[in-house]
Amino acid sequence: MEERRALDLILSSIILAVVAILPMFVTSPYWRGVLIVALYYSLAAMGWNLLGGYTGQFSVAPAAFCLIGMYTSALLVYYWNWAPHLGILMAIVSTAAIGLFLGWICLRLRGPYLALTTIAFSEIIRGVIRFSYDITRGDLGLSVPKLYGGGGRHLAYYYTFLVVVVLVQILLYLLIKSKIGLFLQSIRDDDVAARGRGVNVVWWKTFAFALSSLICGLAGGLYVHFIGLASPEMGLIMQSGLIIGMTVIGGMGTLAGPLVGGLILQPLSEYVREFGVQHMVIFAFLIIIVVRFWRAGLYGSLKNGLERVLYHG
């Protein structure tokens, strides 16, 4: 167990190091922009992974929480001239609060209630934002100031996102390693047994959901001050599918799986777009194939392969 966790940590650090020097090789502003968006998705996917991969609870609306994060910050900055940093902070607070509330309502029950509630929630929240035209300007979106002013400062954004990704990754690592992490994983593996051993199942499920929502809210808050526009499109079910797909294809329940998934799939989707293919057709197909036949995903397979080489052969 200790050895395996050490391997997970080393491998994740190597991947983060590669990500850190990536801009040396990617110099075009366009592709740097793509990488920043990829980091946004990775961050959201890391949040979803905590819930889906480690706790075994399924929200199908990570993008809805990203959207709430975006609009929390965007509205505060737009109407009350808050500094973007404070806006992002409030994005964290609001998504955590909504996560706690929804979790409190539907995680008392076993079964697919969380998935059902979140899918309804995601359609509704997007609708409310679209139709509250007076406040949110509907589909036109809200223009908000960027974190570092005008254009052309991709490196600053890239490393801001990267620092946040590293911090969240460290936080998640410590969490998963701690007693709380064991609680969460015990709930995933057998909730009845976990309860029998005295784990407060409902509370820890709710905790995981709120923390996961918070990470998505943080991702959304950062993103809106990079793009400079909050638009309801970012809350489409499709966006949630992208985030979930990145986690599943990268490797659910692994430390760096979501990051690997995000960094590979987002540039890939930009690439296939040039051929006039809907990238979601391919991704959705991959989600089905991976979850059906190849549980470990990309990062999981890599880790398992290394493990076999290092410790057994």
Partner: protein
């Protein structure tokens, strides 16, 4: 009165959708997140076939039934089998697999439709010319397509309900949904039953899509909202309860119409979500459901 009748009409289509979802939940204890795409494919099938062939739109409902059936059976065969073939080993992984795989399927079908047919809305011809109006008494004026579609929908709903409730096949379905293991000891082929249920579910959702097609038009993402509503309905009626899903559907249809008229037309789709939250807070097992186990 007008509002009430519109609510009942919408409720019928919701019931067709929710019934299939509820049957699947009863049999497999999983939610099919691709249910809205059955609806979407039904709508496309109806619109495309009706626009190509010069026949009465009523005959077009037949190929829609066949397509819905095939779709359900094929999906069950390809993706649902792992849920019960390794029945004992899976345990906690069942929900995980079912949610992700059906969600992935939903995205796949939506985007495939988008890729093939493009994002444009295709509207099919009505069962009666769309401009024709019917005046019932002196209170209600309504397009005659709506009335006839309602009639057809209600007829199918009644047939489906009677089949599930009283026919030998229906008894088999009930047996498996009560106790899969027990049913298979009694000699019931539960795999075949799952296949049939998926077929029925595909037919009901497809027909619902076809009948509503002249009103809503077929487009790749048309299934999303009806699907969300049918999710609300199965929770409202009680997960897996057949009468619950029908009562829940009419309840939601009527409440939504009243909400749209008296509270806010713009936010009419949010009422479903509010109902969902209230039900989960006050009566999580739904109207007819057994008490869901709390952990």
């Amino acid at each position: 009165m007008d509002i009430f009748i519109t609510g009942i009409i919408m409720g019928t289509f919701y019931a067709l959708l929710a019934l299939g979802l509820s049957l699947i939940f009863g049999i497999l204890k999983v939610v099919n997140f691709a249910h809205g795409e059955f609806f979407m494919i039904g709508a496309y099938a109806y619109a495309l076939i009706a626009l190509r062939l010069e026949v009465s739109p009523f005959f077009v409902l037949l190929p829609v039934i066949v397509i819905g059936m095939l779709l359900g059976v094929v999906i069950e065969r390809l993706l649902m089998r792992p849920l019960y073939q390794k029945y004992t080993e899976w345990g906690a992984m069942r929900d995980e697999y079912a949610i992700i795989v059906t969600f992935g399927l939903s995205l796949f079908l939506m985007n495939l439709a988008n890729q093939i047919f493009g994002p444009y809305a295709i509207s099919g011809p009505g069962l009666r010319p769309l401009r024709e109006r019917v005046i019932l008494g002196d209170i209600v004026t309504m397009s005659s397509h709506r009335i006839i579609a309602f009639g057809v929908g209600a007829l199918i709903l009644i047939i489906a309900y009677l089949l599930v409730r009283y026919s030998p096949w229906g008894k088999v379905i009930q047996a498996v949904s009560q106790n899969r293991f027990g049913a298979s000891i009694a000699g019931i082929n539960s795999v075949r039953v799952s296949s049939i249920v998926f077929g029925i579910s595909g037919v009901l959702a497809g027909l619902s899509g076809a009948l509503l097609c002249p009103i809503f038009s077929a487009e790749p993402f048309v299934g999303a909202l009806p699907a969300v509503k049918s999710f609300v309905i199965v929770v409202l009626g009680g997960m897996g309860s057949v009468p619950g899903s029908i009562v829940g559907a009419y309840l939601l249809g009527v409440l939504e119409q009243f909400g749209a008229v008296y509270i806010s037309y713009t936010y009419r789709d949010t009422f479903g979500f509010l109902i969902l939250i209230i039900v989960l807070l006050l009566r999580p097992q739904g109207i007819f459901g057994e008490k869901a186990r709390e952990v």
